[in-house]
Amino acid sequence: MSNPPGKETPTRRTRSTSSKTSTNTAPVNATRDKKTPKKAASKTSKSQALEKTTKTGPKKSVKPKAPKAKSTSANSKTAKPVANKGAAAKVASTKKRQWKLPLLSLLAVFTLLFAVWMVYLDAEVRKAFDGKKWSLPAKVYARPLTLYPGLLLPPEQLEAELQWADYRPAALADRPGTYQRNGNEWVIFRRGFPFWDGSEVTRRINLKINNQRVSGLADIEGNQPLIRLEPQYIGGIFPAHNEDRELVRLEDVPPVLVAALIVTEDKHFFEHFGVSPYGIARAMMANARAGKMVQGGSTLTQQLVKNFFLTNERTITRKAQEAFMSLLLELHYDKEEILEAYINEIYLGQAGRRAIHGFGLASRFYFGKPLKELNSAEIATLVGLVKGASFYNPRRNPERSKNRRDLILSIMADNQIITQAESLRAKQRPLITASPRRGGQREYPAFLELAKEQLQKDYRLQDLQTEGLRIFTTLDPWVQNAVENSADAHLNRLENRSTGLKGTLETAAVITSTDGGEIRALLGARDASFFGFNRALNAKRAIGSLAKPAVFLAALRSGKYHWGSFIDDSPVTVEGRNGDVWQPRNYDLKSNGDVPMVDALTRSLNQATARLGMTVGLGNVVDEMQRLGVSSDLPAYPSLLLGAVSLSPLEVAQMYQTIASEGFLMPLRTIDAVTTAEGDMLSSYAIRGQQVYDPVLMEWLRFGLEQVVATGTARALNSLPQPLAGKTGTSDDQRDAWFAGFDNRHLGVIWVGQDDNSPMPFTGSSGALPIWKSTLQRVGVEPLTAPRTLVDITVGDDGTLMGDHCSGKVYPFPPSWLDNERPPCNSGTKRIGEEIKSWFDWLL
């Protein structure tokens, strides 16, 4: 039998019945409850005494202790004792009737109330037990790892992803959930999994990886073009009480576990009717012998009732209610059903905010494998947790847990569930649990928050929290892992490099697929496991030079500029409407005179960019930013040209996504598909978007961003395979460091700053870019493909287009520029005029 003092239940539960008491009031009740037995005892003795008096009444009437109020009558009786004998008997009889009537009425009322209470309890039991017993949180999964010939798959990625999905290395991969590696050749015994587009059965996969790419893929039937591994669980959308469980059917539970549970917790489970008088008597004797509570008399049914319907409150009323409800439960449901409910209900641990309920989830949580794969030592460990999930936690209290496990193994052997030899062997096994921080058990708060937000456009929160929906997302755990590690390592480096920064730097990152707008990783804080302020979504910070591509885009689109056009980088002064003067300076406080437009971008020259922006028109620049996907308000002030506008990393990612995808504006998305708990597809979210730019113009803009990486402020990346495109950004006083860039597969936006907006001793190049670089190095760089549409045209020293055989610098152009008249070699054309004093003049 169980030991009530040791039993634990999660601290927060919301499955309320009318009889529940909130946890806040529990201590008060507990104090009151201590007095209750005494009061009850006192009442009982009084009533027994009263009953005794009533019964002996007629005999004592000879020597009555009459009440004073009746003294007159008593005197008259004394005067005529014989005659009064009959009268006295009559009075006694009347008194008796007088007592009986209210007692009977009271009894009737109590019986009626009891009957009503029983009917109510019965309704409660049936209501909760007949239908859906639990609120099942939505289970959220990462993208599955899709294997196909040609896939870029570094072996370390495969190894990590297998381990995150709770696969175990083995000498021979002969059961689902195992893998073996022999050099470049892998054998993976994949588990069956209900994907959104249909269930797939277990499969033994042979995989070859050469030069970091999949070169062979086969199963028992021969070569295969495509096989998916099951996706990693990345979190849930929980109800307020954060209960999580993985429902199992009784037939899927190892019989050894069922037997061990019964012999340990309730040996007579199959014999009693919900309450076990024998068990209670035994517990009472044990407690009496020990002088304290050492054993409980609750049956499994009572434990289930307590956890399922009631609170942990320890009162007589609650105990009575528990007993009656147990009887009712046994009356309506068979033992197997009750046992199955118990196996799914019992609280077995805590993982942060998440309460681990049921053996199914506990098996994955503690051992990283499904219930049916557990060995007898692991089964005994889990059964041991029933007595106290925290007290016997194998991770926090391994010694205590091992002792408990060994005790249960002995009980199992004594009851012939396992042999003595098996029990001894199991006791020799060390207490090994899977890491609680492994991929398959940790959560991704920042990504989950955005996924939840996007899901709520189509689903009610309540349904997400209770219906056990399965959410398949776009998260790539390998990319997420890469950005988390890169960010952490680089922030530590930055903090060690400068004094007074220790622990102050924060970061956020968004990584998407270049062509699909699928969010592959999201970092909302330096501590990736932090459930709190999500900087990737909510930190609106000045974007600095990340705004500049919009200025150059407006210039290119105007048809008046090309990358070889010369822009004046001398100091510029813009007078505002209210007399304010804006005088941007270059980062190095130097002026460069006339520079080719591409240099203005690659060197991130503020003066040249401001002048160009004012010339093409502030309104046009704002239009470009909006067309690129920025939905926040963009005040048309000149300082906007240099990024004096605050956007979140996600908004910046949206803007650069349109550039990276050649002008296809797509809402960045986290969800691929949603199915019911049974696997029926409810929604799928394939690509959607709008071609908002001519792809030729986007390729042209991309050339400028490629030069930023090749020779400009992001040249720290030119050690990677080229071309890559990107832009650094640093806000005023270096309060924000940004980098946005993309290769052929991924777009990444990184922000580094401090929450109090303090200046920092580094820029976008040194603060944010290294995180991007390290992330891409970890996930593999795939250079951008050559432009499909641009043509080369020679540009003269003064920025004019030249004929094919003239000397000059060659720049890419849209083919339509070939139609422009190109003068003979060395005959210049008119340059664009500058030196306008007020921004009104530019606007005119």
Binding site: G150, D515, S683
Partner: protein, 126 residues
């Protein structure tokens, strides 16, 4: 001569599109078009998508095609098929968007696909 035959066949398909429902169109269209990809995984996903179309399960068809798109994101045939499946399932807005997207990557010399895009556009905006 070969081109004439192909165009005649396509025109026959177009007539079919105008008169039959979506599921039947699938038979008419997919049987005669080459796949536009040599990638075995993409071909397999095309096949699965075709099966879903045959079963009238447009949602599943789109998810198979979207998996193909992830493998070959700039394959105009994949984008064309996604546009086509969107159109058949009544999502003309997405069909229009993906049609535009397919046009970004279609080779000017690929007369067959260009014709199919034209045909689909005609179907979306008769």
């Amino acid at each position: 001569m070969v081109r004439l035959v192909v165009i005649s066949l396509l025109l026959t398909g177009l007539v079919g599109c105008a008169t039959n429902d979506g599921a039947n169109n699938a038979d008419a269209d997919y049987g005669q078009y080459r796949d536009g990809s040599e990638h075995p995984a993409v071909l397999m996903l095309f096949k699965q998508s075709d099966n879903a179309v045959q079963a009238g399960n447009w949602s599943a068809a789109m998810t198979y095609l979207d998996q193909a798109r992830r493998i070959e994101p700039r394959n105009p045939y994949v984008l064309y098929r996604q546009a086509w499946a969107s159109a058949q399932s009544g999502d003309t807005e997405r069909a229009r968007q993906l049609l535009e997207r397919a046009r970004v990557y279609v080779n000017k010399d690929d007369e067959l696909l260009n014709y199919r895009l034209y045909e689909l556009e005609f179907q979306i905006n008769p």
